[in-house]
């Protein structure tokens, strides 16, 4: 669930204030990666919706139909991962112009199928010109085990389950028609489902979300919903080697988004144990990048222990 604002007023605040909602303990509505709803005696249902729009999220002449199909599912699975859940089924809504080729549609669907999540329904309609893709993913999580953005605690270590910035540089190279090993990071993001599922078992893992809009933007959600501030150590950002583009590697890491690894907070005293256990399972450690602190939602950036007088912004969708 990623409600952005495309007008000056805060559309999501209006929706949150006025929408009829389900009430109850353990129910989560708008504002987290997934909604959490009742399911059965042992599990809760988690639900997320994410859209991809032609000329906003992708350019048809730059990205293959297969990759678009793949990504439309992967970004939803990433929201399931962010709760620590397991995917159950997907539903696909697809609108496309009448002149779209059969081959494009088949390759798109092969991309959708390639993640091997049951496709249980959907809707296809025509559109005037652009392709609209909306996917709803259902998943399950053990009762009370969902990791919410609001669960961060004062003093928590912030860490990620993967590198940052590769997708943003890959997009830049793609748009410049250049070759780069980072393009694949942009086209084929991997939802960190196993990582999320693994981390959800630890009581000392608190807040968790996926990095879709860029760390600088996404971390604000954890801060605001946990009523905390954060400090980030720029030198510790896990940035892949060999990143060379128009911007600094740090800028890609903080602002570009679409990395789709997980951002989480955990008790500092448990970091060593959990990271070592994580590394045993996944062959790489968790990357500590900062700390949650008392405060009112501010994020401060440090380099060599010096506060940086800069402001980073989140991902802006591609604009023609």
């Amino acid at each position: 669930v990623n409600i952005s604002f495309f007008t000056e007023f805060s559309f999501i605040d209006f929706i949150k204030k006025n929408a009829p909602t389900l009430e109850g303990t353990e129910i989560v509505g708008i504002g987290d990666d997934c909604a959490v709803l009742p399911y059965n005696n042992t599990h809760q249902l988690i639900v997320t919706t994410d859209s991809l729009v032609e000329n906003v999220h992708f350019l048809k002449n730059k990205v293959s139909a297969f990759d678009i199909g793949y990504k439309s599912i992967a970004v939803n699975l990433s929201d399931i991962a962010a709760m620590g859940g397991n995917p159950l089924a997907i539903f696909l809504s697809l609108s496309y112009p009448a002149n779209l080729k059969k081959q494009w549609l088949e390759e798109f669907m092969q991309g959708v199928f390639s993640l091997n999540i049951p496709l249980m329904g959907g809707d296809t309609t025509s559109s005037e010109s652009d392709i609209f893709i909306s996917v709803t993913a259902l998943g399950t999580i053990k009762k009370g085990k969902a990791k919410l953005r609001s669960m961060g605690k004062n003093g928590d270590i912030l860490c990620t389950t993967g590198y940052l910035g590769a997708s943003g540089l890959g997009l830049e190279k793609l748009l410049e028609n250049k070759k780069s090993i980072f393009i694949n990071d942009h086209l084929r993001p991997r939802a960190h489902l196993e990582e999320g599922h693994f981390l959800a078992r630890f009581k000392d893992v608190h807040a968790m979300m996926d990095i879709s809009d860029g760390l600088a933007s996404d971390l604000k959600h954890i801060c605001r919903q946990s009523n905390l501030s954060a400090s980030i150590d720029i030198d510790k950002l896990p940035i892949p080697k060999g990143m060379r583009g128009k911007k600094s590697p740090i800028s890609y890491a903080l602002e570009s988004g679409e990395d789709y690894c997980l951002l989480l907070s955990m008790s500092s005293h448990s970091f060593k144990k959990i990271s070592s256990s994580f590394e045993k399972k996944f062959g790489r450690p968790l990357y500590p990048i900062g700390t949650l602190l008392e405060g009112k939602g501010e994020i401060e950036y440090f380099k060599d222990n010096n506060k940086q007088d800069i402001q980073f912004y989140g991902y802006e969708h591609f604009k023609k």
Copy 2:
């Protein structure tokens, strides 16, 4: 779930053949009004997705934002009604151009909220020009009680829970800028949730679906999925009084669609009892319109017991 074909090849057949699906008794995937999934000890989860696209399903200068919001939810609730289920929550995906007015968005959301179904999540993104709305509705139904399109039986009476054709005439009048009492039928379709829920209790009610594309088109689904043919008695079609437009009232009733009442089949020996019980509750009878017969999916139309040599087609979305 209403997968249509907008290219010459059968896109849905390709999807059905290749999609990974959940397997199991009582699980229903693509091809019915809702998917049916496991839920808890007593109930199953039903899920449907339906989209509305600007300039395909609605014209922004002809229909109010409130009405579009209302309808985007109502058409999904109609799919829940068609299974005999109860709505649980909705998820809204909305893409719109940056220049869309705040007032339009607020009125649209008021229309969404007006049906009083919990809105538990969604996604808003920008689009280049057109508004794209996709809604996923979740509901529940008692285990094994979902009424499927495939459940029709040879000899069943076909009937509807409401009038046919009003919405189609209303759309015509709307596009002609004329006043008509039928315009409201087009703008504010009522999902027959209570009717569906009531009818689902009867074992002798077999197949059920909602009428969205027009009886002539929708009935084909019941015939094909039940491996039966059907005969329709044109004189018995429940057509509102006072319908005057460019086409014959029968043509609106069979072809126009968007009536969103229910089409169902039931054992002929139970019709009198169930219809009388239905009338006691809802103040109007069920309208018998024909019969399911042995055959290979053909629909034959009769008038005064004479077979009509005509072919009716389903609804085509508005084209500029």
